[in-house]
């Protein structure tokens, strides 16, 4: 599954780049509209400089991508997404191949990294509010059945539902937090990004 890590990372990068305008629009409702722009530039760098990264191990791919993101992406997204990739990479150690258990380990490490770096948790109205339920579902599906495609599908569905549910939440992190009650009624851009990425991965897995 080593090539799968590269495949998924590239898919994430290209999906983010494709959605630059949409992500910025989401971020502009109660934020300052920089999310799409910032993160798209970072992933463009990841794609353009793909061959300068050491891909001898899945962990090296993830760490290399993390360095590119931290180097190129400012705002909150750089530290958060960069830390997520870094922790995921570190969690894999020197494994040359990864299995389904490793996927969950990677995601859990990424989640812990995001929580620590962002000083955030479930309920703060951030990307975590889509990512954590999606990963919970993925872990459960992996335990219950062999079909990876179906598991990804279910996770994507949960990610989407959880992301849509952020509309009702009061923002406690990010620029939206400054608007207080007015942040209720708007979607969290990070959570929607997670939903879109899970949907893209699930779709690509079938093909």
């Amino acid at each position: 599954m080593s090539k799968d890590v590269e495949f998924v990372v590239k898919l994430i990068a290209n999906t983010v780049i494709k959605n630059e305008q949409y992500f910025s629009e989401l971020d502009g409702v109660v934020g300052d509209g920089d999310f799409g722009y910032s993160i798209a530039r970072g992933f463009e760098k990841v794609v353009n400089e793909w061959d300068t990264v050491d891909h001898s191990l899945p962990s090296n791919t993830l760490k290399g991508v993390s360095i590119k993101i931290i180097g190129a992406v400012g705002g909150v997204s750089g530290p958060i997404w960069g830390t997520a990739f870094l922790r995921a990479g570190i969690a894999l150690g020197t494994k040359p191949e990864i299995n389904r258990e490793d996927v969950i380990v990677m995601f859990r490490a990424a989640i812990e990294g995001i929580k620590k770096r962002g000083n955030a948790d479930l309920g703060d109205k951030t990307l975590l509010d889509a990512l954590v339920p999606a990963v919970d579902q993925l872990e459960k599906s992996f335990k219950d059945a062999k079909d990876t495609g179906a598991a990804l599908d279910k996770a994507a569905t949960v990610a989407r539902a959880s992301a849509e549910a952020t509309r009702l939440m009061l923002a406690k992190r990010g620029r939206a937090a400054y608007t207080g009650e007015r942040s209720i009624g708007t979607l969290d851009a990070g959570a929607i990004a997670i939903a879109i990425l899970f949907e893209a991965i699930s779709k690509a897995w079938k093909e």
Binding site: D34, I70, A72, G74, G75, R173, G174, Y178
Partner: protein, 331 residues
């Protein structure tokens, strides 16, 4: 979007190039870190002072790089904190044997980026201290938000620490001085219009002809409440009460007073506001020792202003009056 720009993606680099070309003797531009720094630093017996933050607040911060104020600024994209790498490399470039002072506006992105950049610099053996600026009174600091924002009050932190650094003040004492300014400065802002970041292409928010936004930040994000537009004096009354009652400022206090334009308001309106604010501040028994009227910390072309009060002591007052030479001359 109607702006004097070329490709929106090149907005920040082209602006920085212009600043450097306009100040060839005193400033140098390092494109890979969006960095504007003094040509004559680091100096062996002077702490270097740097700031990051986003672009879009000019003259803050790249245009207040110069003798007596900042030694370097490495902004991010418009309204976005710089990548941690910019902070790390800038810290390394400006580091003197006396250490580096980071001035940090209290925002999530800035804080993360500066924490990471500082950690990397400290791993290289550079001594770094940080002053966090959070003068905005509009947003309640609490456990459930990221805390109060750093806005126009950062100017006073820059001016005071910049002047003290020129005199060889130690890093530890500069940190104490910066924190003392932060403890004594309070700001509130309002807007008549939104603004449009070049890369976004559309306004971050729009207000109706008869609306205003109270409690804005400096990134074009909406404020605490949207209300009907009032006359200038009434707007001032509400904002001055919010600012003055926060520490609180008392009768007998000596103060510096700033009326800061958000970028899109004519200076005539800023002076109109100043006239009334001046009288009201004196009515409260405070003595205005220094005043600042103009664009110090803007939000692109947003129309609006912010009001800042700084409680002075003799040391801070003297540091504010000390000479400085920056791309814009506001003294």
């Amino acid at each position: 979007m109607k702006k004097l720009i070329n490709d929106p993606k090149d907005f920040v680099p082209e602006m920085l190039k212009g600043i450097a070309l306009a100040n060839p003797k005193t400033l140098k531009y390092i494109p890979q870190y969006n960095l504007i720094m003094r040509t004559d630093i680091p100096m062996a017996n002077k702490v270097s002072i740097m700031q990051g933050s986003g672009s879009g607040h000019e003259p803050a911060h790249v245009m207040v790089v110069g003798r007596g104020m900042l030694d370097a600024a490495c902004p991010g994209n418009v309204f976005a904190a710089p990548p941690a790498d910019f902070v790390y490399h800038t810290t390394k470039l400006v580091a003197s044997p006396k250490g580096v002072l980071h001035l940090l506006n209290n925002y999530t992105g800035d804080t993360m980026s500066f924490n990471m950049g500082r950690e990397m610099a400290e791993a290289d053996g550079i001594e770094v201290r940080t002053v966090t600026i959070n003068d905005d009174v509009a947003v309640k600091g609490s456990l459930y938000t990221v805390g109060r924002r750093g806005v126009a009050g950062n100017f006073f932190v820059i001016k005071a620490t910049g002047a003290a650094a020129e005199r060889g003040t130690s890093l530890e004492d500069l940190e104490k001085l910066g924190n003392r300014v932060v403890e004594n400065v309070r700001t509130m802002g309002m807007a008549l219009t939104g603004c449009t970041p070049p890369a976004k292409g559309t306004p971050i928010f729009t207000l109706g002809e008869d609306e205003m936004e109270m409690g804005i930040g400096i990134h074009g994000e909406p404020g605490r409440k949207r209300v009907k537009l009032e006359r200038a004096n009434k707007i001032v009354d509400e904002m001055l009460e919010a600012v003055a009652s926060d520490i609180p400022f008392k009768a007998g206090d000596e103060v510096a007073l700033m009326i800061n334009g958000m970028g899109g308001t004519p200076i005539s309106e800023l002076y109109l506001l100043y006239g009334y604010v001046h009288e009201q501040v004196e009515k409260r028994g405070m003595k205005i020792k220094r005043n600042y009227v103009g664009n110090y910390c803007t939000s692109l072309e947003m129309a609006g202003y912010s009001l800042t009060l700084l409680k002075l002591d003799p040391e801070i007052e003297e540091l504010l009056a000390a000479p400085a030479e920056v791309a814009i001359r506001v003294f």
